[in-house]
């Protein structure tokens, strides 16, 4: 192969331009000027005009004529001129125009208008050229708006054709977003708007070099960077490997694409007169830090970032809350403040509360993308640098690792508003997540280990994530879930493809891996997002179905074992501990730490002395009441009712009983009016009241009579209640699952209804997610599964209770 001057592309392109100039001039002397002593000028336009002639690109010529009649009078000499150039091997494309025609807007031929931006005099009538050259700037100025409109429309169409992304397995380095066309675009737009063009020269040089190489390799105007060409180019440019070299390619394409999009947006904003007249309602979102104008967030005090690095986090909280992107200027300011942010976050900074808020808000995916693009994310988590533009080189992974990570968040955001049943069930799962922020956080880190993994990247990701999460001050229980998700993020998809889902052992094994329904839900969603973000067609309906079946089988296994799988009496433990643990559901051992079990054991001792043991403590944002006592009818309902009578809002509850009939009830509740926090004496009153109710010295009905009935939530947010029975779920008890609109006192009403029908509550698992209560009761009647009439009456009573 003839070696092009790939190392100095500018010189190579200029040399070829000079060569072609000479050919055109000689041919004109021979064929053209004898017939046109005056009234004809040759102009180089397009790439040829700006002296960027690639080895095999087209040569664009404009024949500027005094009048169109002139060209018609001597067609033979023009033909001869073009023929000579064609015969010498140039791929010529030409047009014949008068100066007047050049100064018209051609909606159907935008390329002609645009090509004039790069016009260059070659030879011929200088007076004619002067007339044209004088007219051109006036034309550009007068027709600025339609020119910009046409150019932006054309470019948007081109980007759209490539799905608005520069991620392509085999990109066309001229036309795909982030290609050479975008370099021209930013320069043209700057020229039309008469502003300075953004500096994207490194990207241009990289692509120019590459295009020279691709032309030389193919021996024609080839701009497709195929898999084979990537291998060859990596070798030619002495890169350590094709994946490494493609990483460079994507970095440059990214820079160019971002510059192009930014220029397009500024042009469109400037161009839209309708927009300018539109009174922007969002301005009312403005606050002390930010103002909103023209659908973009601006910093009120541009220099404030230096003194107040946390302003960057507040900015992205704002983005996450309202879904409005920062203005280009704001993004630049934030990017410029990154060194300051790096310094700020390098120590142990409790950034988690702020980050958690971002991740919990509706537009979290957009906010994280903004944080990524401006460098803020890497300032907080330098670990992310490992995956920046990292290429997984196969025909399956469409995106670089960092982009894949951002797409997983978009996939979850895209679940909102899904209507198709096959997808909507994942939406429901997401709405049942207690803390979606933790799932998003796990997704942020799940592939970080791909940057330096030999072997399993899940472990490497975990290794990178753990110190980072500790550094930002994420509390232990939250860190545990995030770590679990990162470590196990490949397991469900592995089971999907390698295990027989119909085999009961598969569900048992999966249940053993996730241990709780809460983790199962999170891991299912993580798997859904991870597969979906590999490439746009990776999550086929077939795969979504298989994943759902795995979820379902495991879910049923976990709820079944809640009643059926009991902790056996372990001989090795101390006698008291053995007696306490024996017969509790296995879930108990899985969801409690050794310390918690020891604390419960102590309470068990107190209960033996006093008939009841109580613990009340503040846990994170909520309160927790733990109770150990002897089981009796109405016990669970009474405690739930007592809490309601204090105005407490029960978020979660668990009730387990062991073989000796000792129950361990745990209630997690919110204190909406902060009564307990502000009045320590109220804590004592609550404790004493619960004790008296448990011991039967106080009637809960009386307590509740003094409470006003709470207002029901508005119709729009109502959850249609479902009450379902499953007698097969356990060997000895019937499962009742209730999904209903949450309201204060709901749990009391449900539990009381069950007890009133003479049923005994064996196991309870209560969860509340965003006004939706998901309650699981395992009940027996006289030691057996309730049947017939009783079941029907119970169903009616529960449905009535759901309605309030």
């Amino acid at each position: 192969m003839e070696t092009p001057l790939c190392n100095d592309p500018i010189r190579a392109l200029a040399q070829r331009t000079a060569l072609v100039d000479g050919m055109v001039e000689r041919s004109a002397v021979e064929d053209l000027w004898p017939s046109f002593p005056a009234g004809l000028t040759l102009l180089a336009v397009g790439g040829y005009g700006r002296r960027h002639l690639f080895p095999y690109s087209d040569v664009d010529l404009l024949l500027l004529v005094e009048s169109s009649r002139m060209a018609q009078d001597a067609p033979a000499s023009i033909s001869a001129f073009l023929q000579t150039l064609w015969d010498s091997g140039l791929r010529l494309s030409h047009s014949v125009r008068t100066p007047e025609e050049c100064a018209e807007i051609h909606d159907q031929n935008i390329e002609l208008n645009v090509s004039l931006l790069d016009q260059r005099f070659l030879a011929g009538d200088r007076a004619l050229y002067a007339r044209f050259a004088e007219r051109l700037p006036r034309f550009l100025h007068a027709q600025r708006d339609p020119l910009m409109r046409n150019l932006t429309r054309l470019s948007r169409e081109r980007h759209q054709k490539y799905h608005d992304t520069y991620y392509h397995l085999e990109p066309n380095i001229k036309d795909t977003p982030g290609g050479l066309r975008d370099y021209q675009l930013v320069r043209w737009l700057a020229q039309i708007r008469n502003v300075e063009a953004p500096r994207v020269e490194p990207a241009f040089l990289f692509l120019a070099r590459l295009r020279c190489y691709l032309h030389a390799l193919a021996g024609r105007d080839n701009n497709a960077l195929t898999f084979d060409a990537q291998e060859q180019a990596a070798e030619y440019f002495a890169a350590p490997g094709a994946a490494q070299w493609m990483r460079d390619y994507f970095r440059h394409a990214r820079d160019l694409y971002r510059a192009a999009v930014r220029e397009l947006e500024s042009s469109e904003a400037q161009n839209s007169s309708l927009f300018a007249q539109f009174k922007d309602w969002r301005t009312r979102l403005s606050n002390a830090d930010f103002s909103v104008a023209r659908e973009r967030v601006h910093l009120r005090v541009p220099h404030a970032l230096e003194a107040d690095p946390e302003l960057a986090l507040r900015l992205f909280q704002f983005v996450a809350r309202h879904g409005i992107r920062p203005s280009a200027q704001t993004e630049e300011r934030v990017a410029a403040a990154v060194p300051r942010l790096e310094e700020w976050f390098s120590g142990p900074q409790p950034a988690w509360p702020a980050l958690k808020e971002i991740l919990s808000l509706p537009y979290a995916a957009e906010a994280v993308r903004g944080m990524h693009d401006t460098g803020v994310l890497r300032a907080i988590f330098p670990e992310m640098a490992q995956i920046e533009c990292l290429v997984i080189r196969d025909f399956y992974h469409r995106y670089t690792v960092d982009e894949h990570t951002l797409v997983t968040l978009q996939v979850l955001a895209g679940l909102r508003g899904a209507v198709e049943p096959a997808v909507k069930r994942y939406t429901d799962l997401l709405s049942e997540m207690e803390d979606p922020a933790l799932l998003l956080c796990a997704l942020l880190f799940h592939d970080v280990g791909k940057g330096n993994a030999n072997g399993g990247h899940a472990e490497a990701s975990l290794h990178a994530a753990e110190p980072a999460l500790e550094r930002i001050g994420m509390p232990r229980p939250e860190r545990d879930l995030v770590s679990f998700l990162i470590r196990r993020h490949l397991e469900m998809s592995a089971v999907m493809t390698s295990r027989d889902l119909q085999d009961p052992a598969t569900a048992r094994d999966m249940a053993g891996r996730v241990e709780t329904v809460e983790r199962l839900k999170a891991l299912t969603l993580m798997t859904y997002a991870d597969i979906s973000a590999v490439n746009p067609t990776a999550m086929t309906p077939w795969r979504a179905e298989v994943l759902w079946q795995l979820y379902l089988l495991t879910y049923n296994e976990l709820t079944r074992e809640l009643e059926t799988d009991r902790i056996p009496s372990a001989v090795s433990e101390a006698p008291e501990k053995r007696a306490f643990l024996a017969g509790l559901p296995t879930r108990y051992a899985r969801t409690h730490t050794g310390e918690e079990i020891e604390a419960h054991l102590l309470m068990d001792g107190i209960f033996r002395d006093r008939g009841v043991a109580l613990a009340l403590e503040k846990a994170e944002a909520a309160w927790r009441l733990t109770l150990v006592t002897a089981d009796r009818p109405f016990l669970f309902a009474s405690v739930a009712g007592t809490l309601s009578s204090f105005g407490m809002n029960i978020l979660k509850a668990e009730a387990f009983s062991n073989s000796q009939g000792t129950v361990l009830d745990t209630f997690t509740f919110a204190d909406p009016t902060r009564t307990l926090e502000l009045n320590p004496t109220e804590m004592d009153r609550l404790r004493v009241t619960v004790e008296r109710v448990v011991l039967g010295r106080l009637d809960v009905g009386q307590l509740l009579r003094n409470r006003p009935k709470p207002a029901l939530p508005s119709r729009g947010s109502q959850v249609a209640p479902t009450v379902s029975f499953n007698p097969q779920a356990s060997d000895s008890a019937t499962l009742i699952e209730i999904v209903a609109q949450d309201r204060p006192g709901l749990l009391y009403d449900l539990a009381a209804a069950i007890s009133a029908e003479g049923c005994n509550i064996e196991v309870v698992l209560i969860d509340t997610e965003a006004h939706k209560a998901i309650d699981v009761f395992y009940v027996t009647a006289a030691g057996r599964k309730p049947e017939g009439d009783r079941l029907e009456k119970l169903g009616d009573a529960l449905r009535r209770a759901c309605g309030g």
Partner: protein, 112 residues
Amino acid sequence: MKKIEAIIQPFKLDEVKEALAGIGVDGMTISEVRGHGRQKGHKEVYRGREYTVDLLPKLKIEVVIGDARCEELLKTLTAAARTGKIGDGKIFVYDVAEAIRIRNDDRGDAAL
């Protein structure tokens, strides 16, 4: 030449691919399909509601091979895909009139 179309259990894909590679068969087309034979479907309960899963996820493998090697391939494929339980799938064998490699006009066995 014969075309072999095998409907198999999804979790058997890796084993089948490895077994076929072991006898020198690397090229194949794989698609995600849904269906049922005598296995019919089954019922699942979620949140107390019953769902009938009547179309089960399966994978379809298609391979074209010369007559001489067909039996060997069938034996290997069956052995690798079998669990002995209902739902293991089925294999269909078709006669193929011609095969042409588009790149260079190779025909017959040479094109495989």
